[in-house]
């Protein structure tokens, strides 16, 4: 019988079982790396470096996981913090401003090959909206879970998701026309 995430975490806590932690990494590596690839706008090398940092940090701090939330939610929070710290270092935290976004969504300025590329549309969103949309719409977290991951109020998450969705729809519609 396959162990649950909570069971594997218990093994890590009780026996310091690195094989159990390896199983947790195997289970969640795809979603964590996928999320980071989206957050870093497709920078695969940076995303994988950050994913490694996130998993190592999670291992070191696993005693602070109290099981109140899902392991994946707790892991996403660490992942997002790794990304945010790195982005701060690179001074990219502010993301694209509104004017830049307007310019980039102009059908004339977009590569025709990317017109229907949802991921490209997503990369045009400001970071706070992109993060909220990725967590809630792509990774399937509830608004409440996303608020915990992003460490922002629940209402702000809802607003960011709503705005992000609207912008995505607008961008896709503009490219489609």
């Amino acid at each position: 019988m396959e162990l649950t995430d909570a069971g594997l975490v218990a093994r890590v806590l009780i026996d310091d079982d690195q094989h159990a932690y390896g199983e947790l990494v195997r289970r969640h590596q795809s979603s964590v790396r996928g999320l980071l690839r989206q957050l870093t706008r497709g920078d695969v090398a940076l995303a994988d470096d950050l994913a490694q940092d996130a998993f190592i940090r999670a291992y070191k701090n696993i005693r602070s996981f109290r099981g109140e939330a899902k392991f994946s939610t707790w892991l996403y929070r660490i992942t997002y913090n790794c990304f945010r710290e790195d982005a701060r270092k690179r001074k990219e935290l502010v993301g694209i401003n509104e004017e830049q976004w307007q310019a980039e969504q102009d059908p004339q300025t977009v590569d025709p090959g990317l017109r229907h590329d949802l991921m490209h549309a997503l990369s045009l969103l400001p970071l706070h909206e992109r993060s909220a949309v990725l967590l809630c719409c792509q990774q399937g977290l509830s608004h409440d879970e996303a608020a915990r991951v992003l460490e922002i109020p629940l209402g702000t998450v809802k607003t960011n998701v709503l705005r992000g969705r609207e912008k995505l729809k607008k961008t896709l519609a503009a490219w489609g026309s």
Binding site: D15, R26, R33, Q52, L118, Q138
Partner: protein, 114 residues
């Protein structure tokens, strides 16, 4: 309703847009970088426990004059009235049962919360 359908479509497309990423050695690289665990010394644990138990037993045997107190206490036990022995066994059984029920309830609550 149309708005909801659009949302569902968008969410579905977003989920489909991220394919499963193959591990390709990622997990191995993470495990290599983890801080050294105490796992490598875990095989010593049973030996330490057995050695400590043997030492404690030997110490008790020596200090109690060859375990003479056990014989004395056993003799005392044989003189206890049968009713008391039955009552003690019953009470012990109930305490153990209550402990088991409490442990099971606590485990169930933890599973529900997690």
């Amino acid at each position: 309703m149309n708005g909801e359908m659009e949302q569902d479509w968008l969410d579905k497309k977003l989920q489909e847009a991220v394919p499963y990423i193959e591990d390709d050695g990622f997990t191995a690289r993470v495990l290599q970088q983890l801080p050294a665990s105490e796992v490598r010394f875990q095989f010593l644990r049973p030996f330490i426990l057995v050695a400590a138990s043997a030492f404690a037993s030997a110490l008790t045997y020596v200090l109690s004059d060859g375990g003479r107190f056990i014989i004395v206490e056993m003799f005392k036990v044989t003189t206890i009235p049968t009713v008391w022995v039955v009552a003690f066994a019953l009470a012990s059984g109930m305490v153990v049962m209550a402990g088991g029920i409490l442990a099971a309830m606590s485990k169930t609550t933890n599973q529900i919360q997690s």
